[in-house]
């Protein structure tokens, strides 16, 4: 696993931030000055690729591809996948990404300003496609297996892991790099702010408050998270460190409203995920919720979880209280956050959860970090257009 996030740029930093309940959210004067209704966002460190990637390759990489490169570099190192091995074996990539707004805007601004397509520069076409992350990483790391971008809105990262696990399970691939990337600049979310979805609160670190009674919107985040998925046999053969198993993937579509979720769609995603594996409800020691801190989204997810889990009040948190909504990246980063908790025997408290409301009281939200041993967790990711993805992960 490798990550580039507002909670840290190494797994150790992120583990500590999770344990300590540190918020990665800040107030951005730049966004306020530019006309944002909500000027809160995650503070994602800039990535410096100069020591690793030459200028001509960096020209093709927008911000999120740079985050993804740094995360992938660390993930490959942790998985002990060196370049020699990659060169001699078929390693694939499926990565979640669903926008490249700033890069697209900047190249088209030059086109319009100078009245010439050449003014866009050589990198513009490669930077401005949704598949920019997979096209760049596949070339830089010489990946010769599947090469595909999963664009499933805020479930993109989760879908990438689900798809990769499916290809491995069916024997079509032995090893797939997967994850999710999210641009953190303001242009990527200006129109999202425009539909009044973002949190309004003076205290930035208290603004993202999933499941809490006083939540009033999400806070946009960003970065990248990479996981290496590999068949058990291949990993054992290589002597690779094995962290966990992707036990099952469930998915569904709401077939309903473009932005307002329902209960039935997410519930079917959870049910399908549970149906396709031998995991019993009581085996699941933790649920990492999608909950983004919006009124309706959190309420509908709480109801879906309660409906599926019945009498079992499984511990639930949303790490978005600390990170904000990492959108295209979230489904992958939240698997990493949860694995870090699982491997280190704790559940990070759902930051800023103080009181439930009538609709979220049906789930057992853990407010403070606590020591807890669990060997299986479930992670939800839902997105615009009613795309739902659920993963169950088991400790190994």
């Amino acid at each position: 696993m490798g990550i580039w996030s507002c909670l840290g740029v190494t797994l150790d930093e992120v583990r500590q931030s999770l344990y300590d309940g540190r918020s990665g959210i800040v107030f951005s004067q730049e966004r306020k000055d530019c006309g944002f209704r909500s000027a809160l966002c995650a503070q994602v460190p800039q990535a410096d690729l100069k020591p690793f990637v030459n200028r001509n390759f960096r020209q093709f990489m927008p911000e999120e591809a740079q985050y993804a490169y740094m995360a992938t570099r660390d993930a490959l190192a942790q998985a002990r996948l060196d370049q020699d091995y990659i060169d001699q074996h078929e390693v694939g990539i499926i990565y979640g990404n669903d926008s490249v707004a700033e890069a697209t805007m900047r190249s088209l601004d030059k086109f319009r300003q100078f009245g010439s397509t050449a003014a866009c520069g050589s990198g513009a076409i490669f930077q401005s496609m949704n598949s920019t992350v997979t096209m760049n990483l596949a070339c830089l790391f010489h990946l010769k297996g599947i090469n595909l971008t999963a664009s499933g809105a805020c479930a993109s990262g989760s879908h990438s892991i689900g798809l990769a696990s499916l290809l491995i399970r069916t024997g079509l691939q032995d090893c797939v790099v997967c994850g999710g990337a999210q641009e953190a600049n303001m242009y990527g979310v200006a129109s999202f702010d425009g539909i009044q979805s973002f949190a309004l609160r003076d205290d930035a670190t208290r603004a993202s408050r999933p499941f809490d009674r006083d939540r009033n919107g999400l806070v946009p985040g960003g970065g990248a998270a990479t996981l290496v998925l590999e068949s058990y046999e291949s990993a054992v053969r290589r002597g690779a460190p094995i962290l966990a198993e992707v036990v099952s993937w469930g998915f569904s579509g709401n077939g309903d409203h473009i932005s307002t979720p329902n209960v039935a769609g997410p519930a079917r995603s959870l049910e399908l995920c549970l149906e396709h594996c031998d995991v019993q409800l009581k085996d699941i020691g933790y649920v990492n919720a999608h909950a983004t801190s919006t009124r309706i989204g959190d309420a509908r997810e709480a109801q879906a979880i309660a409906q599926v889990f019945g009498d079992y009040r499984v511990p639930v948190t949303s790490t978005k209280g600390q990170t904000g909504h990492e959108m295209w990246m979230a489904g992958a980063s939240e698997i990493i956050y949860s694995v870090l908790m699982m491997k280190n025997d704790f559940i990070a408290g759902s930051l800023n959860f103080e009181n439930p409301d009538e609709e979220t009281a049906c789930v057992n939200v853990v407010p403070e970090t606590r020591e807890a041993h669990f060997d299986t967790f479930l992670s939800n990711s839902f997105g615009f257009g009613g795309t739902n993805s659920t993963l169950i992960i088991r400790n190994l």
Partner: protein, 81 residues
Amino acid sequence: MSRNEIIEQVNSLLSEEFEIEQSEFAPEASLKETLQLDSINLVDLIALVQMTYQITIPVEDLHKIQTFNDLYNYIEEHLPA
């Protein structure tokens, strides 16, 4: 703008854009080889000239610009009055 000013500014811009030390530049050196340009990032050279000097280099003129000197000459000849 004098020729020396053009040379100084162009070298500085090229060095920054393509991340190559100016000490590697020479008047008769090949731009493509020195700046490690291929058919794709050659566009960045065209864009740089266009954005800095408001000079559009038509594709048919590209073959005339092989060396640093060729580039200085082209800019000098086409600078808007």
